[in-house]
């Protein structure tokens, strides 16, 4: 829950911003996640969100990602193992964002 849980790399000419999340995301800290997503999206019309170090996330995180996907092209990096793929599939987030897996 420290403020390093959600980090944003600055965008430059070649690279859109990358938001990197780690640990657990739930209703208790999803607003913090949203703030970082919104800051990244304000700088660019496309962002990458790296969730590969996320140990838990649920519909709260999906809602935050849907909100930013309404205005910004979203590329997600998710862990190859675990139920995040199921979460993205059932919610339909995988149809509005590109999804890559990382081991």
């Amino acid at each position: 829950m420290n403020n390093r849980q959600f980090q944003m790399s600055a965008a430059d000419a070649e690279q859109p911003p990358v938001v990197t999340a780690s640990g657990d995301i739930d209703l208790a800290n999803v607003n913090e996640f949203s703030e970082v997503l919104n800051r990244a999206a304000a700088d660019s019309d496309t962002i990458t969100v790296d969730l590969s170090e996320v140990t838990y996330c649920d519909s709260a995180a999906v809602r935050a990602l849907f909100a930013v996907a309404a205005t910004t092209k979203l590329a997600l990096i998710v862990p190859a193992m675990g139920p995040i793929i199921t979460l993205l599939n059932i919610s339909g987030l995988d149809r509005v964002a590109t999804v890559a897996t990382r081991d």
Partner: protein, 140 residues
């Protein structure tokens, strides 16, 4: 709250049941996960099934927290239980918040019960004026 007796710990599939009772507030969700992460390995649940249980219970518990937000008139609590059955796990998530029918389904909302059904084998949701009970079974 998670008690594991010496006698039952000799049988990996028969750990003492888990029961946690917490205020239905966002901060309780991490406490519920911490209890489950400790308890699930005692029930011989592998990491992949454990992650699915964590998410299914987490969705149900998040709903309980959201019921509580809409019901500020009294203190809402959420109770989570887990026990090993002969063939898997039985899980319950119970709150005493007032249930409201979902209004509409903006994107990203209203997928909770479908998600739970994708993660565990059976899901029974019983909403009453006194609160909501979600019962789940996961075969292992």
């Amino acid at each position: 709250m998670t008690k594991i007796s010496g006698a039952s710990s000799t049988d990996a599939r028969q750990p003492a049941p888990m029961r946690v009772l917490l205020p239905a507030i966002p901060a309780s969700l991490a406490v519920i996960r911490a209890h489950l992460r400790k308890w699930l390995p005692t029930a011989a649940v592998n990491a992949s099934a454990a992650a699915e249980v964590l998410l299914a219970v987490g969705e149900a518990a998040s709903n309980a927290v959201e019921h509580a937000v809409r019901d500020a008139a009294h203190n809402v609590v959420v109770e989570v239980t887990a026990r090993a059955t002969d063939t898997g796990l039985a899980l319950t998530v119970k709150d005493n918040g007032r249930w409201h029918a979902p209004q509409s389904s903006p994107r990203g909302r209203g997928h909770g019960s479908r998600l739970m059904r994708a993660l565990v084998d059976t899901v029974t949701i019983t909403p009453t004026p006194q609160g909501t009970t979600v019962e789940m079974r996961k075969e292992l």
